[in-house]
């Protein structure tokens, strides 16, 4: 599997550098804007370094070296993104590398978001996986590769590059989902994820082909021009539908959500936080980039579909979550419901809704990472204790863990003073402003139902007496505690003084072409 990713990565990197046929039919090498591709390029180089260093570093230091390289790559990429942001502030938004890579506020902000998610994945994942004794040197490499893919999802201005980015991060996640390879359940769920994911990718690719067939280009700017010129051929509508299937799978929208509960339950908890925040965010930013920006002229055609998906996703997510008895499945269905809320932001299709969606993704990432970090600590070895009943009496056994979990659950339920409240508020507000008050009403009612199952978990922690023997494994180590503390900090700070992030979002000038 590692090798596949490796090859794919090389292919993708070479595509970035590859020539596109020019009008005369002569292949000309495009100008490569190295600053624009630096954030992703650094991550890819970091991943390669981790994978290649095996031969050079003594066995004893390999693990440490690969984690250090991963952290280093993320930091360096963050600096490169900072430089890009600075360039953007000087007013140089546009596209780079013959128009396939967008350099705009949306792309750059998303890069920061995904780097943050990757940093969390290392911070919380490494100690967790070590505790489980399934930590492997490739973990940091997979994390940074996934981050590179997700960042390209946000920045891609060409459907082909979007597809490659999608495959890049998906492949990393397929491997991560199978990280506990000695256990049957992770194997099964990873295989399911892989097969369905491959299926969804095929849909996406089919959609891209149809778009190329009608619009004559896979470039989003060209497609936007094409759509702006007049009527939309029905084949293009079919293409939009197929692309939506591919991306809907990634965000876990109903009816493409079947994999979510199984994978969330089967994969190691340390990895699920990364999957839940990263893969979903990547799908959402791609939806925003493609539908809200490039396909904006076709909004009348896709709005009913996305609104319908949103309602179905929220409804199925919250209703099925009510009857779950496993905490990981419950969080899985809750994440489906959140995909439904995020689709409201896509349906609204305004700059305000886009910035609200990004705000939502930031808060959601912090909360879901925190929640799964706690699940990974409480569930103990091999995720053995993930029934909701296993959380009984947690407030007595580990008051701090229970309090932290409460903060995250209240955040996911959208109750002040957490980031979840403000995030939902700004998102709903933006949707009402574009006339979707009925969709918002559905979302608000879904939140009420959702509150019930979050509360149920809280009740179990605080009211029920612990069952059976105390688990002594559920003492979080210092690094995990630090990660949880950070997540709580983000959840509460964004819930009380969200202005700082909001002004960044406002200043980032998220207006993409087409809006």
């Amino acid at each position: 599997m590692i090798r596949i990713i490796n090859t794919l990565q090389v292919a993708s990197a070479s595509l970035v550098a590859a020539a596109t046929p020019s009008a005369e039919g002569v292949i000309r090498a495009p100008e490569i804007d190295y600053v624009a591709i630096a954030p992703e390029a650094i991550l890819v180089l970091g991943a390669l370094a981790i994978l290649l260093k095996k031969g050079f570093v003594p066995r004893r230091y390999r693990m440490m070296a690969s984690v250090a390289t991963g952290i280093l790559a993320i930091c360096a990429s963050l600096i490169a993104t900072g430089i890009l942001w600075q360039r953007l502030a000087d007013g140089a938004a546009g596209t780079a590398v013959s128009g396939i890579l967008a350099v705009d506020g949306f792309a750059v902000f998303s890069k920061v978001l995904f780097l943050g998610i990757a940093a969390f994945a290392i911070l919380l994942g490494v100690p967790g996986l070590r505790r489980e004794r399934i930590m492997r040197e490739e973990y940091p490499a997979l994390v940074v590769l996934a981050a590179a893919g997700m960042m390209l999802m946000a920045a891609s201005s060409d459907l082909i590059l979007t597809f490659l980015a999608l495959e890049l991060f998906s492949l990393a996640f397929y491997v991560l989902a199978a990280f506990a390879r000695d256990l049957p359940r992770p194997q099964e769920s990873a295989l399911k994820y892989f097969l369905l994911g491959a299926f969804a990718s095929a849909f996406f690719l089919y959609g891209v082909a149809l778009a190329y067939g009608t619009a004559g280009s896979t470039n989003l700017t060209s497609i936007a021009d094409f759509l702006g010129r007049g009527s939309i051929p029905w084949i293009f509508v079919a293409s939009m539908a197929l692309i939506l299937v591919g991306l809907g799978f990634k965000v876990g929208a109903v009816p493409f959500h079947m994999w979510v509960p199984d994978v969330y339950q089967g994969a190691p908890s340390q990895v699920v936080g990364f999957l839940a925040s990263g893969a979903k965010a990547a799908g959402v930013v791609a939806l925003l980039r493609i539908y809200v920006s490039a396909f904006h002229a076709a909004r009348p055609s896709w709005l009913p579909v996305i609104a319908g998906l949103s309602i179905a996703t929220m409804a199925v997510g919250v209703v099925v979550a009510l009857v779950q008895s496993d905490i990981k499945r419950l969080l899985g269905y809750s994440s489906i419901a959140h995909a439904g809320y995020l689709l409201i932001g896509v349906a609204a299709a305004t700059p305000a809704a886009t910035s609200a969606s990004l705000f939502y993704l930031v808060s959601y990432a912090a909360m879901i990472f925190g929640a799964f970090a706690i699940v990974s600590v409480v569930s103990g070895k091999g995720d053995g204790f993930t029934r909701i009943d296993d959380f009984a009496g947690l407030a007595r056994r580990r008051p701090m863990l229970a309090a932290a979990f409460t903060v995250f659950l209240l955040g996911l339920a959208g109750i002040p003073p957490t980031a979840g409240f403000i995030a939902k508020f700004v998102l709903f507000q933006a949707a009402v402003e574009s006339g979707l008050w009925w969709l918002v009403l559905c979302g608000a009612v879904a939140s009420v139902i959702a509150a019930y199952f979050y509360l149920r978990v809280i009740i179990v922690m605080f009211v029920r007496e612990p069952e059976g023997e105390d688990l002594d494994s559920d003492e979080p180590d210092p690094i995990t505690s630090l990660g949880m503390g950070l997540a709580i900090g983000i959840t509460l700070v964004l819930g009380i003084i969200p202005q700082a992030l909001m002004s960044v979002l406002a200043g980032a000038d998220l207006v993409m072409p087409g809006l």
């Binding site: 002040p416 409240f421 700004v426 709903f428 009402v432 008050w437 608000a444 009420v448 202005q499």
Partner: protein, 525 residues
């Protein structure tokens, strides 16, 4: 800049909660001291607030306005007027009592309990003072969490069910409120170009009649659940009965008032046209609540549940008074909010004391307690009188004003509501009789001893307040008058509505057929 007294009042309990959080959980003495000190200090600030309040002014006072989230136009604006003043004071008054009453009763997880109580106080005070709809909604939702934990963590047998029911009911109401708030902010953007949740600027919006109707319904459903107005009241008996004593006190005395306060602060001023059209519906629901709640009280065998249902009946009066849309009605409603808070709070405290001793609340288990617990029986009787609304008690003035205000609008409604007063006397006195009078026929009650000095100390301030309001109602009514006037004037101007005038008996006698009255318009009796 003025001294930010309101912010200090709102955030002081939260600071107290953080302080308690730093105390080790085994140091119960320190936790109790910190919690009591915080709430008592809050009450002290309340006295300062009261003396600083300028009587005779209708506008908001002590306003503090800061930017909060400029990106979405949300601001931190707090202020008080005559309508919110007494709600803030009631909150500041009830919390020290509730916390004092739970000392000794709550042994288990005292630290968490104190933290939740203090957070709850902050959230309630914030909701009463907020003048920005997002800020209001923030506090409105935030108070659910500590209340939920108080019921679920320290409640009775069916506490989990009650807590979740309470939470979901209120949250369902909030869902409508939230969408309506968005629509208001959006309309503000369309009409003025900038988004705002500021109540003051939202009041200037021109809203079409049909839109007003929808928004009024959305706001009012949310508030009606909180009050609770029949038929949305079913969460209340469960929550009140299962909550720990202090939780019931806070729920009954303060939390329910947020609903009626919401009507007065938001529903009516924001949507005057809809108010005039739909007031009748709420009046009828209010009367149904009064009678239905009272009848249910007659059937209760659990005394705490009886007190809980009496809240449905009493708050029916408040809703009736408010939506009679007369000066007397609203004044009476405000006064009754205060009275009900004090009287029902005291009843819950007293019921809690007897439960502590006997661990049952079944009325049939008691009987003849007056001989063993004379002081307790006396305090209970005074409180029952206050709740019924006997002359000399605040409830008398409140109900009289409400009925007078309703009478101006529709005598039949007033007559129907008046039966609630009678029924209240029946169910409360009957309960008193069954619990306290006669001979002791249950052996277990032989061992009961009267309440101690500490318990008396907790109830006496409430009794004093009941009598004070009964004898000096002007003290309160004078301060609420300008604000109530302002609300009504707004409804008259914007809702094309004329407040029914008090018929002048002299003029009516001179010209019996004409019915031409020019009486003292809205003058206090």
């Amino acid at each position: 800049m003025e001294f930010p007294l309101l912010s200090l009042i709102i955030w002081l309990p939260l600071v107290g909660a953080l302080t308690v959080a730093l105390i080790p959980k085994d140091n119960k003495q320190a936790i109790q001291t910190a919690a009591v000190a915080t709430t008592v200090a809050g009450l002290g600030l309340g006295v300062w607030l009261f003396t600083g309040f300028k009587q005779g002014e209708a506008a908001m006072q002590m306003v503090e306005a800061y930017e909060w989230i400029p990106a979405i136009g949300a601001r931190y604006i707090v202020g008080i007027d005559g309508i919110s003043l007494f709600m803030v004071l009631l909150t500041l008054f009830m919390f020290p009592i509730a916390i004092l009453a739970s000392l000794g009763q709550i042994q288990d997880r005292l630290k968490a309990y104190a933290i939740f109580m203090l957070i709850l106080e902050s959230a309630i005070l914030g909701a009463f003072c907020a003048l920005d709809l997002l800020l209001f909604f923030f506090f409105w939702e935030a108070m659910l969490v500590p209340m939920y934990f108080l019921i679920a963590g320290w409640g009775g047998k069916r506490r989990v069910y009650a807590a979740i029911k309470f939470f979901l009911y209120t949250m369902l109401g909030s869902a409508f409120l939230l969408v309506a708030i968005f629509l208001l902010a959006w309309m503000h953007q369309k009409q003025t170009g900038s988004i705002s949740f500021d109540l003051h600027s939202l009041l200037d919006l021109e809203i079409a009649r049909s839109t007003q109707l929808w928004l009024f319904i959305a706001f009012s459903v949310s508030f009606a659940i909180k009050v609770p107005v029949f038929p949305l009241h079913t969460w209340l008996p469960d929550a009140h009965t299962e909550a720990p004593t202090a939780g019931s006190v806070v729920l009954a005395a303060v939390l329910l008032k947020l609903g009626t306060y919401g009507f007065l602060r938001y529903s009516i001023p924001l949507f005057p046209k809809a108010t005039v059209e739909l007031a009748g519906v709420l009046v009828v629901l209010g009367v149904i609540g009064i009678v239905y709640g009272a009848i249910l009280c007659l059937k209760q065998s659990d005394i705490k549940r009886l007190v809980a249902y009496s809240s449905v009946s009493h708050l029916g009066f408040v809703v009736l008074g408010i939506f009679a849309l007369t000066f007397q009605g609203i004044q009476g409603g405000l006064l009754q909010m205060l009275n009900h808070g004090v009287a029902t709070g005291a009843l819950f405290l007293l019921v809690g004391m007897i439960y502590e001793r006997r661990h049952t609340r079944e009325i049939d288990e008691f009987g003849g307690l007056a001989s063993k617990m004379p002081v307790f029986a006396g305090l209970f009787l005074v409180t029952v009188f206050a709740s019924i609304g006997l002359p000399g008690m605040g409830g008398f003035i409140g109900e009289l004003l409400i009925l007078a205000g309703t009478f101006l609008r529709n005598p039949w409604i007033a007559a129907a509501a008046a039966t609630g007063v009678i029924l209240a006397a029946v169910y409360l006195l009957w309960a008193y009789q069954r619990v306290f009078t006669g001979k002791i026929d249950n052996e277990e009650n032989e061992r009961l001893s009267d309440i101690g000095a500490k318990e008396i100390l907790v109830v006496v301030p409430l009794v004093v307040l009941m009598l004070f309001v009964g004898f000096f109602p002007r003290y309160f009514l004078d301060r609420t008058e300008p604000s109530v006037r302002q609300v009504l004037t707004r409804v008259e101007e914007k809702g094309h509505y004329r407040e029914p005038e008090i018929p002048d008996p002299v003029a009516a006698a001179e010209k019996p057929a004409g019915g031409d009255s020019h009486g003292g318009h809205g003058a206090m009796p």
